[in-house]
Structure formats: C-alpha cells, structure tokens
C-alpha cells in the first residue's frame, strides 16, 4: 500500500520516535495495542455471528486515536472515564483481552461488572477506568470530579474522558466543561468524532460542524486531530496532559475517526450510509496506515509484524477459550453490592421467588 509517512522521514527509524519522544520499542508496543484491539473486536463479531454472544458494540476505526491518546497518560495514576467503544483505550490502560471478552460473555469473572452490564460497559478500579453506563456523556462529569479531587488532594493526577461527537451535544458536557475551565482542572476531554450518532450524520447533530471550536466558549484550547494518525493523536494528547498537569487547565481534543462497522450488531448501516462512503473510509483505516508508517520508518519489519500478529492470535484465542469456559454469575449473588453492606431488601416477596424465598408470616 502506498503511504506517505507523516514524519516525512522515510527509512529513518529513530527519527519517527524522536519526533514525538517515543522509543522504537514503545512504537511497536503502540502498534501491538492497535492491532490487538482490532483482533479482539473482530473476534467479537465472529462470536456474535456464530451465536455465541448476543450483542457487539464496536470500536473499529477508533483504535488508532484511542491508543495514541491514552498512551500519553500515566497508567495506574491518571484516570479515564471511557465509553462503549473504548476497547483500545481499556487495553492500553491495563485491561486484558480476557477482561474484554469476559464482558461479552457476561461471566461471573467479568471484571467490569461480573456479568451485570451489557457488553461494552467496561470499567476497572484496578486500572483507574471508571465504570461505563448507557446514558451518554454522564461520564464527563465524573472525570471532572476526579480532576477536582486530584487538584484538591494535590495528587498530580490527570483525568480524561472520551465519548463520541453525538454524545458531546448533551447538557452534561456544557456543565462539566464550564466547571472544569473555571477551576483550571487537570482534565482532558476527548471527542472521537466518527461522523455518526447511530444513523444521524454530523451535519444534523453538530451545529457548526466542529466540536473543537466549542472549546473557545470555555476559554480552553480545542484541538482537531486526524484520528487515523496514531502519533498525531499521541502528540495532541501529550500536549493536553502536560497542560493539565502543570495547572493550566483542560483541553478539548477532537479526533476525526472512522466507524468501520455498524453502530452495533443490531444496526444495519447500509440503510443510511452509501457503499462509496464505506469504501472510502476503509482507505483511512488506522491499522494499515500505522503499520505502513512504522515499516517505512524501519521501526517494524515484516518479521516483527508477523511475530506480533502471531502473538495476538494466541492472546485472542486464549481469551475466547477462557471466556467460553467461565461460569455465569449465580443468581444467589444478585442482591449483593446494592450497598456496601448486605442488603436483603425491605420487602422480599413471600411468594414468587422460588426456593429459598422468605417465608410468609402466616
């Protein structure tokens, strides 16, 4: 594939990393995360079509931006409040392929929710990833609150949230950006703009067509970046994180990404997107672009790329087998964790809950 390396430094391996301050090992590791996220995602669709899992919500086309942006944060210290397409974000921040696939199977061992949430609703306290819900954009305020606590407690942490451009229209976004900007909180707002809110195109959901331009209303920088360019995303995020950590306040990053799949496994996107458009999008797929960029720069060879691909296949096969083998949650645990303490409920019904239900007082 003919690719113009964005560094403009064909064949100069070290220069590509030098330009953004990353070693070649780190570049290869970034590539591995983009490719792993894609492989996990593709496996989810195969399992869905095979009838093994009932629902898929996908991140294909978002992975380059997600890996590049999350890479600039400090794992185990900083925070991300992600959204339902954040597979690559979660993998970059420490979750494993097993963690992602057990969520698809809703197993008892699913670390996101123990099988309580729909697939796509990831979260991990261990990895500072806030639990995802379904109402969109609510998580922006949680990240702002995390940033507020970081500032008050002087922890040096940065909090980031990510969402689609459709979600960015919600009122919570305005309320949160306003507050974060007033208090110069260590906060980064990432909009992964794939051009569609399910079926509604950008022109019918974002007035003025730019989410980044809205940053001006809050007196904060708004940056637009090519979401298919992993290193440009990394650089934009690195700048925003540095600004946040030094007390200069929030930044809005709008990454122009692709939606290579339907909204979800329950959607048929050819109903509202043309074949020409879908074909054109594939040419901007971040995975082959990043691969070609790294090969051109001498960071990746055919051999190392093949080794990474083989490793990923092993990881995804293992994650699939693991998730397939994991038991369902036990209904006897379903009343747990309503509160920190045990919660029997005030009104367990005397009848209708099967064996073990509470005896009638009669």
């Amino acid at each position: 594939m003919a690719v113009t390396p964005r560094s403009g430094k064909v064949g100069q391996a070290s220069h590509l990393g030098d330009a953004v301050g990353l070693s070649d090992d780190e570049l290869r590791e970034m590539y591995r995360h983009v490719a792993l996220a894609r492989a996990v995602d593709e496996r989810m669709w195969i399992l869905n079509r095979a009838g093994r899992i009932p629902f898929v919500i996908s991140g294909q086309g978002h992975e380059g931006a997600q890996v590049g942006i999350a890479w600039a944060l400090e794992k185990g210290k900083d925070w991300i409040a992600p959204f339902y397409r954040s597979i690559a974000t979660c993998l970059t921040f420490g979750m494993s392929a097993r963690d992602i696939l057990t969520a698809q199977y809703a197993t008892a061992s699913d670390p996101s929710s123990g099988g309580r949430q729909m697939p796509g609703h990831y979260g991990s306290h261990e990895h500072n990833l806030v639990s995802v819900s379904s109402p969109v954009a609510t998580q922006l305020l949680h990240a702002v609150g995390i940033a507020l606590a970081a500032k008050i407690r002087k922890t040096g942490q940065v909090a980031m949230t990510t969402m689609g451009e459709g979600s960015s229209n919600q009122g919570d976004v305005h309320e949160g950006l306003n507050f974060a900007a007033i208090h110069k909180l260590p906060f980064v707002f990432v909009v992964e703009n794939n051009g569609y809110a399910i079926s509604v195109p950008l022109a019918r959901q974002v007035a003025g067509s730019s989410v980044a331009d809205r940053a001006a209303g809050y007196g904060i920088p708004g940056v637009t970046v090519d979401g298919a360019d992993v290193l440009a995303c990394y650089q934009a995020s690195k700048d925003a994180v540095a600004r946040a950590r030094s007390g200069e306040g929030p930044t809005l990053i709008e990454a122009k990404v692709l939606r290579l799949t339907a909204h979800s496994s329950d959607d048929q996107q050819t109903k509202y997107r043309s074949e020409e458009e879908l074909t054109a999008e594939k040419a901007r797929d971040p995975l082959p672009l990043f691969r070609a960029q790294l090969i051109d720069a001498g960071v990746l060879t055919d051999e190392t790329e093949a080794a990474i691909a083989a490793d990923i296949k092993v990881v995804v096969d293992d994650a699939t087998e693991y998730a397939e083998s994991q038991p369902d949650p036990d209904p006897a645990t379903a009343m747990k964790w309503v509160y920190a303490e045990d919660w029997p409920g005030e009104t367990p019904p005397a009848w209708g809950m099967g064996p073990g239900s509470v005896e009638s007082s009669h």
């Binding site: 305020l141 609150g145 507020l148 606590a149 970081a150 008050i152 507050f179 005030e346 009104t347 009669h362």
Partner: protein, 327 residues
C-alpha cells in the same frame, strides 16, 4: 445540654466533620461567602477556604456528577441542592449513575457522597420551592434517603450520612430550620441510618411520619389524647433502608395504622409503607391502613388559602386518627 435550632445542628455537623476529616468538601450554589440561601453553610467558607467550600455555577447535574467523580478519587463530597425542587436536572446523575455505580461495577466502585436539599411546603414557596421529592429517590435501590425531624437527629444522621460509603440523600424540611429547637450534645455522636424512633408511645393507633409531619403527628397525638385516643408515633428518620421492624412492631401492637406524608398522595412514599403493613401485619389489623397526604395537584399553590388547603396539618391528622380509631 445546649439547645440548637434545626439548621444550627446541621451547620455544626458540617463544620465538625470538615474539621475532623479533610476529605469532606462542600459544593453547591451560593454555599461559599453567602453561606447558602438558608445559611446552612454560613461561616464554613471562611473557616475552610475556597478548595473545600465550592460555589458552583447553576448546574445541578454538574454538582452531582462532579461529586460522583470526587468520591471516586478519595473525597467525601457533601453537595447542596439549593431547593429539592431543583434536583431534577441531576436526576439522571442520581438515578443512572450514583445509585447504580456499586451494583453495576460489582463492587468495583462505591460512592461516599451526601446530597443535602431543603424540601417541603408551608413557607409560601409555591410550586417550585415547596416540593417533597423523596418518593422519586426512595424508589431506586442504591440510594439511601434520610429525613430528620429533630436537631439531635439532624446532626447525628448527617454525620452518619457523610461517613457512609454509599450515596445518601439528606432532605431537610425548610420550615423547620428555625422553628424547631432541641437539645444537641456538643461533640461527636451519630444516629444510625435505617433506624426509626418511637417518639410518642401509645396503644390504639400507630401514626407513621417523617420530617415536619413527625412534629404534626405529635401535635395531633396530644389533641386526640384529650379525647381518650392513645396514639403511638413512629418517626421513620431514614426512609431507605426502611426500618420495617419498628413499623410492624408498633402496628402489631395497636392494630391500626395511619401514614402521614406531605407529598402527593398517589404513589407517595407512604403508599409503600401501607403496602408493607397490609402484606405483613394483615392478621393484626383492626381497620384499614390509611393515609393522610397532600392532594394530587402538581405543586403547592402560592396563595395562603390555597397553600393551607394543600398542606397536611395537625388537625387533618387528628381527624384521620379519630376516623381510624372509630373502627
């Protein structure tokens, strides 16, 4: 023992807990220099500074959503919603997020946060400064809902709420802020969440109430006592989790149950209490489980004649007691 007004007890609780635990912060509209529109946080900004007493924009969803995030990252926020009537822009954050966070993350995340809000009518506040909103929130497991009626309980329950590891909604009847006084010991004490109190022992009719209605129920009990009717008043104090045992124990003793609440009658919190009593104390009942509650109009009207018509008062409760006692 020092005598305090209801609002002084709340303010003392906030100040003492902020001094004891530096992870406690306050955020809300006008809570800083002004000290809140009712002065519940008066003096706290001067004592604890900008970072711990935060004036927010007029953004209720932000107040709650930010509190959720702050509680994830090591703080114990106490959010103030200026009037309970204005809590609805934050409804999604409370119901979809705060209530569900622990459950949906399978105990990955808990949210030690408290939301204070003045509620209730009888103060010429009309439709949007008088509402009782508790039923919206008691409906959803994952939230705790507290409504104190005495200065002692106000402080003790507030400290329990702030120290609790789950989200607590703490509603304060605004008519009680300066009209209710009571003994409050100095220093640290708590009243446990989820425990009702029998505030007036009796034998013939149980009256279950909370907030301002717990006071009116006591007045009504005194009125009918002169007529020879012995009333037991149960002040719920915490609505969720409900202290079912104290309720049922009283009703099984008296055989008659009247539930009083200021909110609209239909689908109000008391309807759930009535259902529990009907299901679990049926064999002990000598009369119908009855309710005295606000009429089913979508808000408390402003004009004093209309507001008096809306509000439950001691005489309306006494009338309900007399009718029930006659069974």
């Amino acid at each position: 023992m020092p005598t305090k007004t209801f609002i002084e007890a709340i303010r003392d609780g906030l100040r003492e807990e902020m001094a004891r635990d530096e992870s406690v912060i306050i955020l809300g509209e006008d809570v800083g220099k002004k000290g809140g529109v009712f002065l519940a946080t008066d003096g706290l900004w001067a004592e604890f500074g900008d970072e711990r007493v935060i004036d927010t924009p007029l953004t209720e969803s932000q107040i709650i959503g930010t509190s959720i995030g702050a509680s994830i990252n090591g703080l114990r926020p106490v959010a103030e919603i200026q009037f309970a009537d204005f809590i609805f822009p934050a409804f999604n954050q409370l119901i979809s997020e705060a209530a569900r966070m622990r459950y949906r993350s399978n105990n990955g995340y808990g949210l030690p946060m408290t939301v204070r809000a003045p509620y209730g009518g009888g103060v010429h506040g009309a439709l949007y400064h008088s509402q009782s909103v508790e039923a919206f929130f008691t409906h959803i497991p994952g939230l705790k809902v507290v409504i104190p009626s005495t200065p002692y309980d106000a402080k003790g329950l507030l400290l329990s709420s702030i120290r609790n590891d789950d989200p607590v909604l703490y509603f304060e009847h605004k008519k009680m802020y300066r009209s209710v006084r009571g003994d409050v010991p100095d220093g640290d004490f708590t009243v446990p969440l989820g425990k009702a109190a029998v505030t007036h022992p009796g034998t013939q009719v149980t009256v279950i109430a909370y907030g301002l209605m717990a006071h009116y129920a006591l007045e009504a009990a005194d009125r009918v006592a002169e007529e020879g009717i012995s009333v037991e008043v149960v002040d719920l104090r915490t609505l969720r989790p409900l202290d079912k045992e104290t309720v049922l124990e009283s009703v099984r003793k008296t055989g008659k149950c009247l539930i009083v609440y200021e909110d609209n009658r239909f689908g109000g919190y008391g309807a759930e209490v009535a259902a529990i009593v009907a299901e679990e104390a049926f064999d002990y009942l000598d009369g119908p489980v009855t309710r005295i509650a606000g009429p089913d109009v979508p808000g408390v009207p402003y004009n004093h004649a209309l507001e008096d018509w809306f509000m439950v008062d001691p005489e309306k409760i006494a009338d309900g007691i007399r009718r029930l006692a006659a069974y």
